[in-house]
Symmetry: C2
Subunit: 156 residues, 2 copies
DNA sequence: TGCTAGTCTGCGCATTATGCCTACTTTTGA
DNA sequence: TCAAAAGTAGGCATAATGCGCAGACTAGCA
């Protein structure tokens, strides 16, 4: 049973505040015993609460300052192979199949405008792709965050 | 100058393989000295290559199995305040201002279909929002990954 | 009421990592 | 070619880790 309680939330929130802090530090900060925190962490890990480290890497700092979301309209039958075709493009960082009209939302990073144009071309060239619609991410209106969701669990 | 070389890439790739491995372990795995890895890590951190820990948390495991992308069309003048209005909705996990026609792309998580409907309503109720268009993420065609980009840096 | 299972606690122990230091060598680039 | 930057090697005190174990405290259940 993947139960998730307030203590787990507090541990995650502590990690968000400082991801490099040690288990002992968290234990005393949270008023828990070291063993508890350690056991909880192990449990969280086993329940796959932690995603790949990739997620924590800033693409801008890697030399890819531009992020774009590309809507891709495809012929439904070709969806499977399209997955591998898209995965072959390094700049494709993430792709979701969407409900609604049979299409995809592809997250792409690039070094600049021309580069983005080139990547878009690579996507268009994939078997099964009918058309694409590129939207450049201009700003982060709400930067990725889970703290509000976690704080909601605190009283449990 | 935010230079990023092959060694940095190797360090990040090692972290992606096992994010909990120690500095000494990485050093011997990569054939570098402990000091080098430590210095590199510090430099990466200073250059803000690492994002918040939030990014590594699996929302599904937290009890929010659904992810949706909501396109939000807004009156441009109201963009600023809309940022704070959206930030007040816990299920809004991320929001980008976009170029092109759809003004905002909002990433939302929810506990289920009804919940998603409710969240969409909250977004619609925000001052300045004209209409929204919800797409449910059905599958991860390409799960988030940066390894191809990093491997590209290896030979440098 | 008493049993059981699960969790949290507190403690100890050996091993290992960390942070910081100095000195020396290699690489880099102006 | 020379100077600056980066890497290597080693040491050292402190601290964290992984592990085990016994006891306390709940909660569910017959």
């Amino acid at each position: 049973m993947p139960t998730f309680d307030g203590t787990d939330a507090r541990i995650l929130l502590a990690l968000i505040k400082d991801s490099r802090q040690t288990v002992v530090a968290m234990a005393e900060r949270l008023g828990l015993s070291r063993n508890t925190v350690q056991a909880r962490m192990a449990a969280l890990e086993k329940r796959e609460v932690f995603l790949n480290f990739d997620h924590r890497v800033n693409t801008a700092a890697l030399g890819y300052p531009l992020t774009a979301f590309i809507s891709v309209h495809v012929q439904q039958q070709k969806l499977q192979q399209l997955g591998t075709a898209l995965a072959a493009i390094p700049e494709v960082v993430e792709a979701h199949g969407l409900s609604g009209r049979a299409d995809l939302l592809v997250r792409v990073v690039s070094k600049g405008a021309e580069d983005l144009f080139r990547v878009n071309g690579k996507i268009l060239a994939c078997e099964g792709v009918e058309r694409t619609e590129t939207s450049l991410a201009m700003n982060e209106l709400v930067p990725f965050r889970l703290t509000p969701l976690l704080e909601r669990e605190l009283d449990k």
